[in-house]
């Protein structure tokens, strides 16, 4: 398994995707089944029956419980098995993992960390624009066949608009303006102010305005997975919150090392009732996202075929990108350390005191067969240890 930051909330689905019919989602190489129970609460369980690993998403709902479609094990919303066909005793280990879940503003967030006690919904960034009557929003989501980090980079360096989106949203001048990067804790802000420029067509067409305006882009990246783009135009010299504003919410959820989900919401505080504008935006932004997808997937192939000794040639413009990558690495290291602390090596532990994985079992058998003098317990603990190492200027 690749390295993922797990102690965080990831967007798993749109609220309206999740019904009383179970659906499967893959997040950080963990398959999850999502469904709603009778009081409309959404639930997230490991999508793998404890009995024989059959996907629960292929089962059916029985009231608030989910029945495995293979041999009929039934699980309650907490993941505990409540019925095994043909016997009255429930196996002690017949439980599937239940993931903390929080639903907010149209997105369903799932906590992927090991300890549910760490799952604090107040850590989820502000997304109220998706659900605020003073804002009109357009949504898209797409699976992109690239590592999540490439989408992060894309959103932190918007100079690509001048080249990749030349015929859609591109403006020649974006890269000519400097950026201010601010880094605080796990948040990277990349802010670009473009003073006294013509209003881009979106604003000019919907609001019937012309002349010069101060334009800004500020990407706020809550590493590792959520980027909010605060964008807009204001009268020259006016405060940003008095302008025509856009909030683009981008939630990037890794599927595996080379694929991710991109959840996208574009909200504006102007021409809110202009249905025609909303539909044009839906179509236009869909095209922009397809341009990004094509580029990111091509870049992923470039990354996969690039020799190991070659690295990105980053420039000053990439300051936010580089800082975000470093924060990402720091978070990965922190989690690895925490896991190590929770599962210390136990070199003298007797065999079979806890379940072992297939790889460890093979290694133990190999060691025993070779008569290498190592106990199965030593082999087991080694394998376990390997597994755990796993506002403008």
């Amino acid at each position: 398994m690749a390295d993922y930051i797990l102690n965080t909330w990831y967007v798993a689905a749109w609220s309206d995707e999740v019904t009383n019919k179970p659906i499967r989602k893959m997040i950080c190489e963990q398959s999850i089944v999502l469904y709603r129970i009778s009081d409309d609460q959404a639930k997230a369980l490991a999508d793998r029956c404890a009995h024989r690993a059959f996907p629960l998403s292929k089962g059916r709902m029985l009231g608030d419980s989910i029945e495995c479609g293979y041999h009929g094990f039934i699980y309650g919303p907490d993941g505990r098995c409540t019925k095994v066909p043909g016997q009255t005793t429930l196996p002690e280990r017949a439980v599937v993992r239940s993931y903390p879940l929080h639903e907010k503003d149209g997105w369903i967030w799932v906590w992927m960390g090991d300890d549910p006690a760490d799952a604090d919904p107040s850590d989820i960034p502000d997304t109220h624009w998706m659900n605020d009557p003073n804002w009109a929003s357009v949504e898209h989501s797409l699976q992109v066949d690239c590592r999540a980090e490439l989408v992060h980079d894309n959103l932190l360096d918007l100079t690509h608009e001048s080249f990749l989106h030349k015929t859609t949203v591109g403006d020649d001048y974006i890269y000519e303006y400097g950026i201010t990067v601010e880094v605080d804790d796990n948040v990277v802000l990349v802010d670009r102010l473009m003073p006294s420029v013509p209003a881009p067509p979106l604003y000019a067409d919907t609001m019937g305005i012309d002349g010069n305006w101060d334009r800004f882009h500020a990407t706020e990246f809550f590493v590792p997975n959520n980027l909010t783009l605060h964008s807009g135009i204001t009268a020259e010299g006016a405060p940003r919150d008095e302008g025509y504003l856009i909030k683009v919410l981008n939630a990037i959820t890794p599927i595996d090392a080379h694929t991710c989900w991109y959840y996208y919401s574009f909200a504006r505080n102007f021409a809110v009732d202009n249905v025609e504008a909303t539909e044009q935006l839906r179509e236009g932004l869909g095209l922009v996202l397809e341009e990004d997808k094509d580029a990111l997937e091509a870049q992923e192939l470039g990354m996969q075929t690039r020799p190991g000794q070659e690295f990105d040639v980053l420039i000053a413009q990439d300051g936010g990108v580089a800082k975000a990558r470093r924060i990402h690495q720091a978070l990965l290291k922190k989690e690895a350390k925490e896991r190590e602390a929770k599962e210390p090596r136990r070199p003298g532990a007797p065999a079979n005191t806890k379940p072992i994985g297939a790889a460890a079992r093979r290694q133990a058998q190999k060691a025993a067969a070779a008569g290498a003098g190592r106990s199965a317990a030593e082999s087991t603990t080694s394998a376990e240890a390997m597994g755990t190492a796993a506002g403008g200027r």
Binding site: G178, I179, V183, A324
Partner: protein, 150 residues
């Protein structure tokens, strides 16, 4: 490009056993193989906080200016191609721009880097008489601009 990295940033360089920490450097990340040009280090000891600079002298010359109660409000002009780094030693400082609303207060352990190919001006105001800050100006000797490399 301006880079304001807070002391509590998870991207900050680690503190060494002797209490020192690289506050800002070019390149900021050495692992990609870009040639090293300069670094500014923060030293923390029981006596307080100090900073020092190291440069590739064949490529960069530098000046150091200490801001204290005599220079409680200073206008800094960064010439085309130069890099300026501001680090607070004690107290705090307010950084503002003359023609805009942008302002940030910086503290010991924070670093503020300004670079680019167009000259620009900022104002650094020390908050009180106890505050001190150091300003490093790095100038390229071989190229027109010393561009910061992340």
């Amino acid at each position: 490009m301006w880079m304001l990295e807070r002391a509590n940033s998870l991207s900050a360089a680690p503190t060494m056993p002797d209490g020192s920490r690289v506050l800002a450097a070019n390149p900021d990340s050495a692992e990609r193989g870009d040639p090293w040009r300069w670094s500014i280090t923060l030293h923390t000891s029981p006596d307080g906080v100090s900073t020092s600079v190291k440069t590739d002298e064949s490529f960069v010359v530098h000046t150091v200016e200490l801001l204290d109660e005599i220079h409680c409000s200073t206008v800094l002009t960064r010439c085309t191609g130069d890099v300026i780094v501001v680090a607070v030693k004690t107290g705090d400082a307010l950084i503002t721009v003359p023609d805009g609303p942008w302002q940030r207060r910086i503290h010991p352990g924070d670093s503020f880097v300004l670079e680019g190919e167009v000259n620009e001006t900022i104002r650094v105001e020390l908050t009180d008489t106890q505050s001190t800050a150091t300003v490093y100006c790095l100038t390229p000797t071989r190229t027109a601009a010393l561009r910061w490399v992340p």
